[in-house]
């Protein structure tokens, strides 16, 4: 039985991973498209005193949507910063426990955000809310995509937790090492990641 479950969970995780990478690439192209649009806007404004209208509005949505869609990718890539300096010195079982708690807590955070995002989206739907801009975009559309992005983040964490629980039950040490042990790239993801 556990073996079947393991396969299913692994497959689900691979699928979510692929989806999140795909979203990340789509988001990147969105940013490039936005850059071209902004470039056009700047030229139109400077030379012809015209405006495309709505670049800033769509830019705002682009940030919300792309960063939400990028959350799951970030999770798989260990890019959400975690400071494990002290716990890393603990004996392995304790360190693994701390990793598990960290993932579970991140899951709770994702849950708060996701449920909050859905309630904001539903409110917008209920109120018939639109953006207070000349385009009067119905807000449930960008908010819905945003909430969906956060949902993927949440689901990714839940699936990971299930995978870990199954691995513990079936004494699958390889998976435990992969998901819970200190990853060198946790310190700083391969070269370029952090920000400051």
């Amino acid at each position: 039985m556990p073996l079947d479950m393991r396969h299913i969970v692994n497959r689900v995780e691979t699928a979510i991973g692929a989806v999140s990478t795909a979203f990340c690439l789509i988001g990147g192209w969105l940013l490039i498209a936005l850059s071209f649009a902004i470039c056009l806007e700047v030229i139109l404004r400077k030379v012809f005193s015209m405006s495309l209208q709505g670049i800033d509005e769509y830019g705002g949505y682009a940030l919300a949507v792309t960063s939400a869609l990028g959350m799951a990718f970030c999770f798989y890539d260990h890019a959400h910063i975690r400071i494990d300096l002290l716990v890393r010195r603990l004996p392995s079982p304790l360190f693994r426990a701390s990793s598990f708690i960290a993932i579970a807590t991140l899951g709770a955070t994702a849950w708060y955000l996701t449920s909050g995002a859905w309630s904001v989206t539903l409110e917008s739907w209920e109120f018939g809310a639109f953006a207070n801009t000349p385009l009067r975009t119905p807000l449930y559309i960008p908010q819905g995509i945003w909430a969906a992005g956060l949902t993927i983040f949440f689901v990714a964490i839940v699936v990971r937790l299930i995978r870990i629980v199954i691995a513990v039950m079936s004494r699958d040490y390889k998976t435990l090492t992969e998901t819970l042990d200190h990853q060198p790239e946790d310190e700083v993801v391969e070269g370029v990641c952090g920000v400051e």
């Binding site: 209208q53 800033d56 904001v120 809310a129 639109f130 207070n132 000349p134």
Partner: protein, 326 residues
């Protein structure tokens, strides 16, 4: 009587209406009741929120009392902004009439958000600070103007000007470097933020409305109050409402004096040397045309979905004051 704790959300801080009147009213309640009523007053800046989701906070009961900008929330509840459309009035007497005629409607419209309507008052007309001499609508044509909100942007479009949306903190720089030609804000706010240093012409056209707000109580909270507390708070707020209506033209005038350097500037700092222009009779007629033929119909369309009678209601109330004949 019981102890009461009130969590109040104000509007943006650092303006006399908020710092000298609203905040004092709420914080004064504690003194008047010997500490029985405790209030905690937060401005939007202090809470770190933008204010456009105010009705949602109201519905959830995040705050007990909220100061809500009718224009910020116009995406969630378009009916309220009727009192604050661009160039709907040029003086505070007319504005007050508009407001009074629509009060009942606003009180009704906040009910679905679990709100109890308390008061309604304006800040200052959101007028134009321009780099170039701007004394007429014609001069405004072709200019890039920083505004926020759909009605103001629509009005600019009718005037062949370009609406630019910018974050508040970026406007001073944008004016200075010529990224935009004009920006709208209250005269005092503009003076305090030194817009007079980077612009030269003050055009007294309330393009951004009057930054009007309503103060609303969360219904559950309000009903939990004793009758006498309700009365106490209501009476304090009515007093404050009168003060705030009387204060608005004075604050507006002060800002103009300081920005132009004509007359005594009581706001401190080095007064500016801006020129001042009122809207000519001819231009008012033109704006009136835009208001009635474009802005109001578009607004009616936007609020129809959630409030099908909003057009009729408007004609019966504000329409009577500003003279809409159909």
């Amino acid at each position: 009587a019981e102890d009461v704790k009130i969590r109040v959300l104000g509007f943006w801080g650092n303006q006399p209406q908020v710092d000298d009147v609203d905040r004092k009213v709420w914080e004064g309640l504690s003194e008047q009741t010997d500490g029985r009523i405790q209030t905690q007053y937060l401005t939007l800046n202090e809470a770190g929120i933008k204010g456009d989701q105010a009705l949602r906070f109201l519905k959830r009961g995040t705050f007990d009392i909220m100061t809500i900008s009718v224009s910020y929330v116009s995406g969630d509840e378009p009916s309220l902004v009727a009192v604050d459309l661009p160039a709907i009035a040029y003086d505070f007497d007319t504005l007050r009439q508009i407001s009074d005629s629509y009060r009942g409607v606003m009180a009704e419209r906040v009910k679905p958000y679990n709100g109890v309507f308390l008061t309604h008052w304006p800040f200052n007309p959101q007028i134009l600070f321009c780099k170039e001499q701007t004394e007429s609508l014609e001069a405004l044509g072709g200019e890039k103007v920083r505004v926020s909100g759909a009605p103001a942007a629509d009005t600019l479009e009718e005037l062949d000007a370009t609406a630019v949306d910018l974050t508040g903190g970026e406007v001073y720089q944008a004016l200075q470097r010529g990224l935009v030609d004009c920006g709208t804000t209250g005269s005092t706010f503009g003076y305090r933020n030194k817009w007079h240093e980077v612009t030269s012409s003050l055009y007294d056209l309330p393009l951004g409305g009057y930054s009007q707000v309503i103060q609303v109580a969360n219904k559950d909270f309000w009903e939990s109050l004793s009758d006498e507390d309700q009365k106490l708070i209501s009476s304090k707020l009515s007093e404050a409402e009168e003060t705030l209506w009387e204060m608005a033209p004075v604050v507006h005038e002060q800002g103009i004096r300081c920005a132009t350097g004509e007359g005594e500037c009581e706001l401190g700092g080095d007064a500016g040397g801006m020129t001042y222009a009122d809207v000519s009779e001819e231009d008012r007629t033109k704006l009136d045309g835009i208001l009635k033929s474009v802005i109001i119909p578009r607004w009616k369309e936007s609020c129809n979905a959630s409030f099908p009678e909003c057009g009729e209601t408007f004609d019966e109330t504000i329409g009577q004051v500003i003279g809409i004949a159909d």
